[in-house]
Symmetry: C2
Subunit: 309 residues, 2 copies
């Protein structure tokens, strides 16, 4: 097992509106969030993505300064970077996409750099399942752990390819509504069982402000959502979560259920930072000390003593 | 401190429809659920409620067999018991009231039996806040702990009396939507602060399948919702929760934040039984051994080890 972590995903410009304010074009994309989350751990992380020549060099410099390997990031001259804009409603649990410009994404033919073809950890961020499968097929050595994320769009319209991919991964990270949509089961316990039968030995169901559930065999672990006074911008929370999750496992070099429980808490702690500011800001500046303290807060949140007689 | 627990609330007939089936008139009412939950603990529990002469004697026998003191339950000859019927939607998180017949409830003038006027623990179940205040005013000795529940109807239409009551209790148990409605704050952390400023030192916010939060000073405890394969009928879950909560504290004779954390888990465990069958059935037949095992399940659900370096 090596500590190489290959991350496939988008690098993007986002424009976000929440009840608290509005941004111009800022740095976004799932590979960006996953990479920035992973950069807080001792892992050798390489990104595979695509950008246009409008992608600002300061953003590339930022990612490089975090020791992220960008060899797998293709830049297409004269084209524009993937752009998404969205508006969160008052409860911050629902959002409306205002605009999606695929731009360079339509030309994305991922190429895994030689160095990462034997990576022990592979994170397939939310993208067309054909692209996720393509990356997996380029690995020269079977990874220790392959994790995938997806979303409603692929579940609705790319079901065959998606099922093929789900059959090849070890862990799936999905939100509660998507799990229900994928399995047509309302109970998340039932949904997780159906997904486990499709292939993944581990199923993570994200419940937004209510935390996350990890399923493995007949075991369940429940990570609380940290009750926050203010959620500023939920964008990237799920990606920060899964980035922290896999980077921690890669640093630790272990992939048992017990290790994954801890990894789920670490991911939750990272996500709790991300939502406190617009975009990637909080994730960029968070210190390891702050992360450790936040994890202790998570521990205190659910600890109790019991002696029943 | 004594271990007397006075419970105010409705005793009722319910008719329930869920995606899994439909009942005729069955035993219901918040005092019933709270009392049955409390009966699993060593506490001297008396109910204050009102019923009509149509209330079946077998239900009274059931409650008596659980050592619940019914001296405070008034029966009005020739009148009918409070009746509620409701239908749960497919997700079981929302329901529609089909019919509400107040019947004897309109004549309810609660009378606290002499024996319970010095009860250390008082549970004011969901009812008109004037009735809740009336019971409180009949106590001859200040209780150690007064807990109240309420619902949207009283928040909307009886706000003055409700605020007066909230100012006099130690613990409020309320669901997330009601907490938001009461405080006009979306963040539950902010909502809890506003409610604490209104009087209660402890605020419990119930989140249905997502568990419950306990707030005290600047501390928060988060009880997970137990992921269940099948939720059969959510009726009475909140009442079973709070009944187990206060009965455990009464048995233990302590009311610290640490004790309340455990009490919240015990309440959650009881509620997790209640929802697995129609009405009060699961609560009636649950054994202490089953409860202990369920509490261990709750413990395992959130426990994790961490060593970050």
């Amino acid at each position: 097992m090596n500590n190489k972590l290959l991350v496939l995903g988008t690098m993007a410009y986002d424009a976000i509106e929440t009840p608290f304010g509005k941004t111009g074009k800022i740095l976004g994309g799932c590979a960006t969030y996953i990479g920035l989350a992973a950069s807080h751990f001792r892992t050798d992380c390489g990104l595979i993505s695509i950008i246009g020549s409008d992608f600002e060099s300061e953003y590339l410099d930022l990612l490089k300064s975090k020791k992220l390997d960008l060899e797998g990031v293709e830049c297409i001259e004269g084209e524009k970077t993937f752009f998404w804009s969205g508006k969160y409603h008052n409860d911050l649990n629902t959002r409306t996409s205002l605009e999606t410009q695929l731009n360079v994404l339509t030309k994305f033919k991922p190429k895994v750099p030689q160095k990462y073809k034997d990576a022990s950890f592979v994170m397939l961020g939310n993208l067309d399942p054909s692209i996720q499968l393509d990356v997996l097929s380029q690995m020269t050595q079977k990874p220790e752990l392959v994790i995938m994320d997806t979303m409603n769009f692929w579940i609705e319209s790319y079901r065959d390819k998606l099922d093929e991919l789900i059959g090849k991964v070890d862990v799936i990270s999905i939100n509660d509504e998507e799990a229900r949509q994928l399995t047509e089961k309302h109970s998340l316990v039932e949904a997780a069982k159906v997904i486990q039968d499709m292939g993944p030995k581990y199923v993570i169901i994200k419940k937004g402000e209510h935390g996350a559930l990890l399923f493995h065999e007949n075991k369940i672990f429940c990570a609380p959502g940290l009750p926050l006074e203010e959620v500023f911008d939920p964008t990237g929370a799920g990606d920060s979560f899964i980035g922290g999750f896999i980077a921690y496992l890669s640093q630790r070099g272990k992939v048992s259920f017990e290790d994954m429980k801890t990894a789920v808490i670490i991911g939750s702690a990272l996500a709790s930072f991300t939502v406190q500011e617009f975009g990637t800001k909080a994730l960029e500046k968070m210190s390891f000390k702050e992360l450790s303290e936040r994890i202790q807060t998570f521990k205190r949140l659910t600890e109790f003593e019991i002696e029943l007689t």
